[in-house]
Symmetry: C2
Subunit: 253 residues, 2 copies
Amino acid sequence: MSIHTAHETVAIHPLPPLHAHALKVACSSCNLRELCLPLGLSPAGVERLDTLVANRTSVPRGATLYRIGDPFRSLYAVRTGFFKTRVSAEDGRDQVTGFQMAGELLGFDGIGTEHHSCDAVALEDSQVCVIPFDQLENLSREFSELQHQLHKVMSREIVRDHGVMLLLGSMRAEERLAAFLLNLTQRLQARGFSASALVLRMTREEIGSYLGLKLETVSRAFSKFQDDGVLEVKQRHVRVLDDAALRLLVNGC
Amino acid sequence: MSIHTAHETVAIHPLPPLHAHALKVACSSCNLRELCLPLGLSPAGVERLDTLVANRTSVPRGATLYRIGDPFRSLYAVRTGFFKTRVSAEDGRDQVTGFQMAGELLGFDGIGTEHHSCDAVALEDSQVCVIPFDQLENLSREFSELQHQLHKVMSREIVRDHGVMLLLGSMRAEERLAAFLLNLTQRLQARGFSASALVLRMTREEIGSYLGLKLETVSRAFSKFQDDGVLEVKQRHVRVLDDAALRLLVNGC
DNA sequence: CGCGAGCTTGATGCCGATCAATGCATGTGG
DNA sequence: CCACATGCATTGATCGGCATCAAGCTCGCG
């Protein structure tokens, strides 16, 4: 197994063996199991899933978990850290298609063609659980709750993408940024973090790529929100002061 | 079961019973089986799928197959006709998220929440096969090829959406239209139709909504292509004269 | 301390939205 | 069969939002 750093490909290794009780990495004891694949699965099923998801790997900041064209073998669950996925056109233009945080799954893009169609890049030092897909399919033929959860996660990914299409197709710059921030705070909140104070893991340029805007436009929108008392922005540190104003921008108009 | 016409909800009926040999509607004899769910499935599996997909319904032009908020129970395979799917924001803005033709599946948006998150509207008189999803999950636990094909179709939907995000996020009007036309001709060709002569099933406004453009911009782009000798456009009848020029617009820059 | 990546802010220009008028096909009722 | 309405498409004129170009600024880090 190998991952790619920004400029080279290096071998990566499973996490060093740990005393089982020192760091509980099993699905059964993972604090993300209510967000991840095990959701709704019986204890017996989770135990089986544990044997399947034996492999955890670290991905340093800036390295890619997989790349366009890589053969598809596994899904990945983010255990810690933060990722972006991006697609590229032939001419070099690329587009960030999503940001993934703890408990979210990566790799669905590879199932259809047996090859990945996007890059997955760690935005900070991260750890992922490796889920061999053929084994996951086998197990999900045994456990219908696992099967259904897998389908739900994929369906939500489709729905999420539709939401981004709506954003890209019909919203203006400030509305896009507001929608982006609300989505982030919501997901952070679901993980027990504050809904008002957040640290962005990505650059203005990456936000812009995701939102179909240039980095200067993103920066200006941040400044505008700050002037209007909606946000407090200091580089990547953002505090949401007027949550309702953001909602109003996204929904009403 | 009911569908909604443009302004009202009306009962729809399964297609009238047909002499089995008169019109073969079984998956096993469907000419779309190489594009649809049965792909790769054993004869025994297709036979089982046939019993599950017993219900076929007609959807008249302008009617909706399902709507945002409708409870999710089934996937739908387009047998004949043409659909669009669209999502809407609270303030009424909406966005066409896709166009579906024969052999393509509709309804994945509903799995995650048990309710549909978009509308599916017939753009011409159409027929769909109704695939009860719980039964499909049951059957796909028995037939791994069916399970895998389902996953592939969902994965391709995700990849397709990523492509649209790239288009919406980083392409200019003419490039978007070129990409749209190439995608259409390619899919039509896969169904045995000409890759150069096509009849658009959707209005300029619907194309514009899909591409994140206003209808006037779409119209101007068509006119531009016609002036440049790339297309011949007469209302909804389009002939591609210079396929390579379209490709160049999309890929190179 | 000084370098560089990333961020902010300003000035200008362009692409596509908007507003508006006309054209064209289809269908309906007199 | 024509008159008229209606929905859709085309084309022109103008406007505005975001991209682009350009110049400083901030902060982390070797």
